[in-house]
Amino acid sequence: MTGQLWAVLIAAFLASTVEFVEAFTIVLVVGVTINWRSAWVGTAAAAAVLAVLVAIFGTAIVLFIPLQALRFVIGLLLVLFGLKWLKKAILRYAGLKAIHDEEAIYEENLAAMKMRGEQIPTRTDPFGVATSFKSVLLEGLEVAFIVITFGVQADTGGQSKGIFIAALGAAAACLLVVALGAFIRAPLQRVPENTLKFVVGIMLTSFGTFWGGESLGILWWHEDLSLPLLILFYLAVTGILIQVLKPYASPRTPQMVTGGDQIQKPLEKEVLG
């Protein structure tokens, strides 16, 4: 293998790793907070759509798929989803969400089932499927663009296996990210429910702001490196909001720290409830 092909392999690997980390972060939080079935259904559906798109368009996919428009729509939806989750988590942390409501009773029942060792029924959740689908589709398309762009550049530079080598780099990145994700999955399951929902809200809002901002023409500082900064920014803002809201909580409304902090519950309760 020539030096140019090695360069393509490494560049595709590194660039794809960033995209896979972004997609897998969302899949992971959906899996942990909603259920894994929904996370995998969304991921599989997105992978199928990607496969169809690549099969139809081949390398011309770069010309036909409006990545900016996709970023706009997905960014907008993620910000909406993220703020909704953040709002509920902040209200609970501030003590403004009553403990003795239907949601809490439902969660306590599930916690009791879990303590008795009973299987908690899981079913495909539209919100979880949609969230993981959008993220995997967008990031998967970006990986396809990376593979094609790097591969075609190597091919026009006199190489014949540019796209294949770039695809190998992307596949290696995917394996690495999934393997790392499998390691952190178990510790994540032990994080309290409201904390996870808070983290999901921060993640979805940050990713939505990042992708939405990109589609609007924002040139983020050092591109993907801005994402951790956005996450820190939203953490700081929500921390301030929680402190500001705490005095509004009545003494008769205890903070939501029991029951729901230990178990998962279906999405529509969270979204529609």
Binding site: F72, G75, L76, L77, V79, L80, F81, L83, K84, L86, K87, I90, L91, A94, L96, P126, F127, T205, T209, G212, G213, L216, G217, I218, L219, W220, F233, V237, T238, L241, L245, Y248, A249, S250, R252, T253, V271, L272
Partner: protein, 73 residues
């Protein structure tokens, strides 16, 4: 007609369920698009306006919840 209304309500609840968040986020994206494509502001200004509107939406809906909670208790 009822089925259509139920459909619209379910869609609204699925995507947002909060009028304040929905309107401020839509304004943030629409204004961001306008500022970039029509006015041609710098990326920094666009970033500040865009993020400020998103945070504003969250702050407004939370303050509404806090005030209504205070009225009830």
């Amino acid at each position: 007609m009822n089925a259509i209304l139920r459909g619209i309500k379910a869609t609204y609840n699925f995507f947002s369920g909060d009028a304040i968040i929905l309107s401020t986020v839509l304004i943030a994206f629409a204004l961001g698009f306008f500022l970039d494509k029509v006015v041609g502001v710098s990326s920094l200004v666009l970033t500040i306006v865009f993020i400020a509107l998103i945070v504003l939406g969250l702050a407004l809906t939370l303050s509404r919840e806090a005030l209504s909670h205070q009225r009830i208790h």
